[in-house]
């Protein structure tokens, strides 16, 4: 692109970014939230919308509303229809009319009120400010240059803007969530006196929010009849911020198309990550709850009210570290053994011609076709004859054997896709086959080897069925079996079970993160691909 074109494109994108931010702020200033406080309620049983009884009741309520309007209140009539079919198959209906006074609030009125959503909103605004400032700072005098010619500092600033916008985007649903928790779930439970903890503190904050703290003790009555409604327009904040994000991304090379693709990519990745992490969020909040709170029957808590860290020390007391060590030993050993046996076999499959090659492949794949559940009797018989019952060695060998198929298959595929020229060169230089394998092929095949390694480790780490039957003393249990002690005849201790499961996930994730770079390193290491 030529100099003026780049400049023009970047200017346009900057404009778009500002439009997105201004649109967001504009939406925030609209009265998106309305709160209805009931001043008069009439219930009418066995009434169906439109029938005679309904007309009567409606007229009565209208009259009351007129009264209020005459006194200068801004009131509205709400209608709530509850229909139900009883056991005799008859439909009954109950209509509730409520005359309400309405308070309209825009999002800025949540700021600085000490509510949970106030924090989220403040963070959102701060992130938007950061994005705006860093784009401005990064662009002054550089809006005519393509991204790849920018200096490091400017690039960093643009990265910051993008990160801030992504985070702000995520905070939108968080804000909505927090508001609903406070105004809908929590309030209704306080009013029904199902819970009492923290009631006064919250009511004081709400008094501050609605009436600048003037209501005092009377606040309870007002809140007793409070109903929150948010306009669906709240969700429009997400596309509005997305516009800014796309614009910020397009600043890279000035093309809206690539910015849009990038933006879509980020959104996709965020969605995938959120869905993936969702069960872990549930595990985490449950793992640190008290036993009593694991049953959140009123859908009140998105996080523990009190983080019970002693759950961790409890499971440590009950042997979890020992089980983890056992698992590390078994899974580590099984992985090492599976690789030691699998790499040579895969090498032979990829590089040599011999009779029975296909038969071996069939043999390997056949070894996978029975579930361990089915093979229990045979395995246990084998372990008895070998005196490996109730030993970690036995478990290790079984796991190594059961993962041979995958290791050989994946490694064979990787080896085949790597040209043999470099090994041949090495061998001509006087290396033996083993040296050619370890010094030349294995480094080049790193991505495949790492994948196989992780796979075998994870499979061995998660193996459960065989371990339950083979291991019969507490000190030899792997973690998968150890966790079962938290689910007994009398109760399931969800908090311990999930705390232990989280602990069991950590070593695998650490292992993965430490070798993840090899997943991508393969290509750069040389002239691969034949």
């Amino acid at each position: 692109m030529s100099y003026p074109e780049v400049r023009q494109q970047n200017r346009r994108m900057l404009l778009l970014l500002i439009i997105g931010l201004v649109l967001t702020l504009f939406l925030m200033s609209l009265p998106l939230y309305s709160f209805d406080v009931g001043v008069y309620t009439k219930k009418s049983a066995n009434t169906f919308v439109g029938d005679e009884k309904y007309q009567e009741a409606r007229a009565e309520v209208e009259a009351v509303a007129e009264d209020y309007r005459a006194q200068g209140f801004d009131v509205e009539i709400l209608e709530d229809v509850l229909e139900r079919v009883n056991s005799k198959g008859k439909t009954t209906s109950l209509i509730t009319f409520t005359v309400t006074e309405r308070y309209n609030k825009n999002m800025f009125s949540f700021l600085g009120k000490g509510l949970p959503s106030s924090t989220a909103l403040a963070a959102m605004l701060a992130l938007m400010a950061i994005a705006a400032v860093s784009v401005a700072a990064g662009l002054v005098g550089t809006d005519d240059v393509l991204q790849r010619y920018l200096d490091r500092k400017t690039r960093w600033l643009r990265g910051l803007a993008i990160a801030a916008l992504v985070l702000a985007l995520i905070l939108v649903p968080v804000f909505i969530l927090m508001n609903n928790v406070t105004f809908s779930r929590q309030l209704s439970l306080y009013n029904a006196e199902l819970i009492t903890d923290g009631k006064d503190a919250l009511f004081a904050k709400l008094d501050n929010f609605f009436f600048d703290g003037k209501m005092g003790d009377g606040i309870g009555d007002v809140l007793g009849a409070l109903k929150i409604r948010h306009s669906p327009m709240v969700w429009v904040l997400i596309p509005a911020l997305f516009i800014s994000l796309v614009a910020a991304l397009s600043l890279k090379n000035g093309e809206i198309r690539s910015g849009l693709l990038r933006g879509a990519l980020y959104v996709f990745v965020v969605i995938v990550c959120v869905v993936t992490l969702y069960p872990y969020y549930v595990m985490t909040i449950t793992a640190f709850r008290s036993n009593a709170e694991t049953l959140d029957m009123y859908f009140l808590h998105l996080a523990p009210t009190r983080w019970v860290w002693s759950n961790l020390s409890d499971i440590v007391q009950r042997g979890v570290p020992r089980y983890l060590l056992n698992s590390i030993f078994v899974a580590g050993g099984a992985t090492a053994l599976a690789m030691l046996c699998g790499i040579p076999a895969a090498y032979a499959m990829a590089r040599m011609n011999f009779k029975g090659k296909k038969a071996f492949l069939g043999f390997v794949i056949m070894s996978q076709m029975f579930s361990p559940v089915v093979l229990l009797i045979g395995i246990s018989q084998l372990m008895n004859t070998m005196h490996l019952n109730n030993t970690l060695w036995g478990l290790m060998l079984i796991n190594a054997a059961f993962n041979q198929a995958f290791a050989i298959w994946l490694l064979r595929g990787t080896f085949v896709s790597i040209s043999s020229e470099m090994e041949q060169a090495a061998m001509i230089d006087g290396c033996g086959t083993v040296r050619a394998l370890t010094k030349v092929l294995i480094p080049m095949a790193a991505p495949g080897i790492v994948t196989a390694l992780i796979f075998v480790f994870i499979n061995a780490w998660n193996e459960y069925t065989i371990a339950t039957v083979l291991i019969s003393t507490a000190q030899n249990r792997p973690i998968t079996v150890g966790i079962t002690q938290f689910s007994s005849f009398n109760m399931i201790e969800w908090q311990y079970m999930f705390a232990a499961s989280l602990l069991a996930t950590i070593p695998v994730v650490i292992l993965f993160m430490s070798i993840e770079k090899h997943l991508t390193a393969g290509l750069t290491s040389g002239g691969v691909k034949g």
Binding site: L82, N86, S87, S290, N291, A292, E293, T294, L295, M297, R318, G319, L340, C341, L376, I377, S380, Q381, N384, M386, H387, L388, N389, N390, T391, W393, L397, G432, T433, V434, T465, T468, V469, S472, T473, A474, T484, Q485, F486, S487, S488, F489, N490, M491, I492, E493, Y496
Partner: protein, 419 residues
């Protein structure tokens, strides 16, 4: 390169030859499998749950020459583990489980009199011992029991001003009242027809209608008219919306949890429920009552009992010494000093007379429960087909939940049993 492979081979062979156990000749090792009842079972037997020590350590200190290889297994896995070991001729010496008939019928168990000391045998409640008899031989001894009763949330009943139902018709009326009053927010009645314990539901309703698993001669009679009526009634409770919504997958845990949170007004549960609710932080004002029965029929409470049994081991060099060791294990286990602590920790009811006094002293409600237990009916677990019947009635219930005809389902099961 050859060297490398020689090395591989040697390592592989060595790994295969790592020997497992070196037992000294004059020592007897007993393989024991205990089921995991509560969160502390494992700690009591193997950890530090017995005054800083554990059962195994204490036993081995008190009985030199006997070693325990004791495993605490979760109920989910215990059948798998035991059956697999039996298939490999590697049965445990002592097993704690609920069923025994198959093991006894197939000649795997030793008669209790072969190893149980006389004085201990006399200590068991006779009515419990009777539940483990096949062909006049006692094959297992009870380790503990629990009794089921109807628990209800007193606050809910006070609020709506209704009495606890005693008949099926009253149950329907009360359920409707609860449903109406609480707008469907509270489930009136808990029902559990899961694969784990659906046979209990079968017992609750059929026994409350004069039916049951067997007829008066002790022969299977699962398709009697009373049974069909009872199960149809239970299913109608579900279909009318009086119960928790998914009886086929909502287990006892779920029902207990809902009850503890005040979301369930009535549930049939074991005597440990109050302890459980307290652990869960629920402040439920609860009381117990008899199970509702059909008009004109009497209700009968349901007792559940687990057992301890000893397997034959023809390869043991000294059978007499082995029997004596098993006897010592039982003696030590049922010694009030150990047994009372265990039963009260698990929250169950005892199986031996010598434990009663101490338990009643510790918890006055125990006595009432012992009375309930006295009038309990038990599952016909001594009959060989019990496993099949248990799964059969559960399948029938679950099929009925999805709309199948109860009569046809139970007829099919009965036909299979009398085939």
């Amino acid at each position: 390169m050859k060297k490398l492979f020689a090395l591989f081979l040697i390592v592989a062979l060595m790994l295969c030859m790592v020997p497992a156990a070196f037992a000294a000749d004059d020592e007897i090792t007993l393989d024991v499998i205990i089921c995991q009842y509560g969160p502390n079972t494992n700690d009591w037997f193997l950890g530090k749950g017995m005054d800083g020590s554990n059962f195994v350590e204490k036993f081995e200190a008190a009985n030199p020459g006997i070693k325990l290889n004791l495993d605490v297994v979760s109920w989910n896995d215990v059948y798998t583990e035991v059956d697999t070991r039996i298939a490999n001729d590697n049965a445990p010496d002592i097993l704690n489980i609920d069923v025994f008939a198959n093991y006894a019928n197939e000649g795997l168990l030793m008669p209790v009199k072969d190893y149980c000391p006389e004085d201990l045998f006399g200590d068991f409640f006779p009515s419990f011992i009777d539940q483990s008899v096949i062909d006049d031989t006692v094959w297992a001894v009870p380790d503990l029991a629990s009794a089921r009763a109807l628990f209800y949330n007193v606050d809910i009943f006070d609020e709506i001003g209704e009495e606890v139902p005693t008949t099926w018709a009253e149950l329907q009326d009360v359920s409707q009242a609860i449903l109406d009053y609480y707008d469907g927010e509270i489930y009136p009645w808990g029902i559990d027809m899961t694969t784990d314990e659906g046979q209990a539901a079968f017992a609750y309703y059929t026994w409350g209608n004069g039916g049951g698993f067997v007829d008066e001669n002790g022969d299977w009679a699962v398709n009697s008219a009373e049974n069909v009526e009872a199960i149809e009634y239970a299913i109608s409770l579900v279909n009318d919306g009086y119960t928790n919504p998914n009886p086929a997958t909502q287990t006892r845990y779920d029902l207990q949890d809902m009850f503890a949170a005040g979301k369930l007004a009535m549930v049939i549960a074991p005597n440990q429920l109050p302890t459980y609710v307290a652990d869960k932080g629920g402040e439920i004002n609860m009381a117990t009552a008899g199970l509702p029965a059909n008009e004109g029929k009497t209700s009968s409470s349901v007792g559940v009992m687990d057992r301890v049994m000893a397997f034959k081991d023809d390869s043991a060099p000294d059978q007499a010494a082995r029997n004596e060791a098993i006897g010592k294990f039982l003696k030590f286990f049922y010694d009030p000093e150990n047994y009372v602590g265990w039963v009260s920790m698990e929250g169950f009811l005892p199986a031996v007379n010598s434990a009663v006094e101490a338990l009643v002293a510790a918890d006055p409600t125990f006595e009432a429960w012992l009375d309930v237990l006295g009038g309990c009916q038990f599952y016909p677990a001594a009959k060989a087909e019990w496993d099949q019947v248990k799964q059969g009635v559960i399948a029938a219930e679950q099929n009925a939940l999805t709309g199948a005809d109860v009569q046809a389902e139970l007829d099919a099961l009965q036909a299979e049993l009398t085939k």
